[in-house]
Subunit: 352 residues, 2 copies
């Protein structure tokens, strides 16, 4: 299958790459299917492939060009090709793509762990064309039948780069996220992304699992379950979802998760030792003061209700754009638009 | 203030104590106020006292007899007097009650930690009349203005006894919970209750606090907060509530919380060590298998949707009723009614 490349938008700015108007999606599950449908809704031309053609009939009705094999995605001549397949299928998919690759395409993905995806991409010889992507979107459902373009409403993407990423491809990816999908993004290196994901998702999943195991081992578990209320339900909810999926996610980010588990174990031990001192003991009071007040700035941040965020223009330089974009993300700024080839519109969204 | 004792219901069963029809409530916050209003709705005569008379006007309109001082609650000649005051006010309240006590009254409470309340009650010389109570009811609001009789809809009470508790007073308490409030109960000793509360509430609150502290200490906290989604929100929700209230709750149950924190720290360390082994390592696989499958029976229990629970009659004996009721609770049975002076209707509700 080969389609003519349609005319792409031209912003009249010589420094900006053409905005991506043609997108190929490999994998039409919840995340890939929702993305494809959203892109069609927003005026992009979208081709998609799935390992089983079950979603094709409905997808075609929804304006998606469905291709028979993965090479059909390359032949569609997309500006961006998004890998939405499971991590374990990535090797096969990348091998097939590499054999037919078109160097005009920017390759990206939606995986929740970035280091491993880049390793797979580089092993397939496609590293030069790759910019990592991880949209903060999803729910507990799965499959194209559960797809919903609104899944991406207001979503933030982590976009990941390394020392070999070309600035032009990064710009194409940022414009894809902000203009095609209509979302925000932050630009990180893989390691920073994967450490952050360990903090806010992978490690907490292990903690929730350990809580469920602790109750399971208790001779009074039926009494405990009877007394359990909102706090227990919230703390263990993620332990109830498919433990094999959780395990795979944790194993993909094993080193970062292990480091944070050591930290957490130390914090819990310290709290236990403080509670074992006699009531009124000076060290106990000091340590419990610290334990319970340490996150006060975080509590204040979470309690604040901000309707409009401060905006500004961020200018990057040719030699230091990676560090400049990472520093911007560390300040809590999110990119909402490319303003020119070297400037971005950013909103100060998450500054604790 | 002294009112005539109204005629109480008589079930025509010589072995059963009269069902409690008059109830006194000390403390008209969210829990006490909601309880008083529910009891009025269900046909009980209710007197209440609060340390400040602010709720009295509205409470009187809602059918509650408001008394000027705490001794007025004794003078009301209630069948049951329920302490709904904060734990830190318990000493003063108990002292005032002890000076005017009427031995026909069963004394109970709604505190979330039972051992300490009993210590205070015994210190005031009222241990003989006390049966502990802890309804699993509440929300994030507080005060009489937030009270709602429906807070108790379908609630379970932990009812606690010790070696000195008379069976007659336990029966009065069980009938109070099941007939007056219209709830279920399980009968425990204080230690079992407080260990269970540490498991499903107090220890998880410390874990949530430690998670919030871990993020607060991260140089990438703004990035982490940007990427945080449902799992992080649920795992840290209770860390955002008033940390002083959390600290007080944890300190009241310090020994049990400390023991469980040691267990959790060990579980997290074990998980970290497994993840630090090389992928494919036999020990790693075995330990991760155990970590992620251990709570499968709990997952199956939580996934089961049971509309009607098996019911049966539980018969207790004069010499062993404490152990028999505790064993019933351990099996996951909840008491829904007194059938006679020695038999209870129980439902198998939480059997993992």
């Amino acid at each position: 299958m080969e389609l003519m490349r349609t005319e792409t938008r031209n912003d009249g700015d010589a420094m900006m790459p053409i905005a991506p108007g043609r997108v190929a999606i490999a994998g039409m599950g919840l995340i890939g299917g929702s993305l494809a449908r959203r892109l069609v809704e927003r005026g992009c031309e979208v081709a998609a492939w799935n390992h089983r053609p079950a979603p094709y009939e409905r997808a075609r009705r929804e304006g998606i060009v469905c291709v028979d094999d993965i090479v059909g995605l390359v032949d569609f001549h997309p500006d961006v090709l998004v890998l939405c397949t499971p991590l374990k299928a990535m090797g096969d998919v990348l091998g097939a793509l590499a054999a037919a690759w078109d160097p005009d395409i920017v390759l990206t993905d939606v995986g929740s762990v970035k280091g491993q995806v880049r390793d797979d991409v580089v092993a397939a010889g496609l590293g030069r064309w790759y910019v990592g992507g991880h949209p903060m979107a999803g729910n507990e459902r799965s499959g194209y039948q559960a797809s919903d373009p609104r899944l991406y409403d207001g979503a933030l993407w982590a976009v990941t780069v390394d020392g070999s990423t070309s600035y032009d491809r990064l710009l194409t990816m940022v414009r894809f996220v902000t203009e095609c999908v209509g979302n925000r993004c932050i630009v990180l290196d893989d390691g920073t992304h994967d450490r952050a994901a360990a903090m806010i998702s992978h490690m907490p999943h292990v903690v929730a699992t350990a809580l469920a195991n602790e109750l399971s081992d208790s001779p009074d578990r039926n009494i405990e379950q009877a007394l359990a209320a909102g706090s227990w339900r919230d703390m263990t909810r993620v332990a109830l979802t498919d433990p094999n999926r959780t395990r795979a996610m944790v194993e993909e980010d094993a080193a970062n998760v292990a480091e944070l588990l050591h930290h957490m174990a130390r914090r819990l031990e310290d709290a236990a030792h403080a509670l074992e001192r006699r009531p009124g003991d000076e060290v106990r009071n000091r340590e419990l003061d610290a334990l319970f007040s340490h996150a006060d700035p975080y509590r204040r941040f979470k309690a604040s209700r901000i309707d409009s965020f401060p905006q500004r223009t961020l200018t990057v330089t040719p030699d230091a754009w990676r560090d400049e974009l990472l520093a911007s993300a560390r300040r809590g700024e999110h990119i909402t638009a490319c303003e020119s080839g070297t400037t971005f519109r950013v909103e100060l969204r998450t500054a604790l």
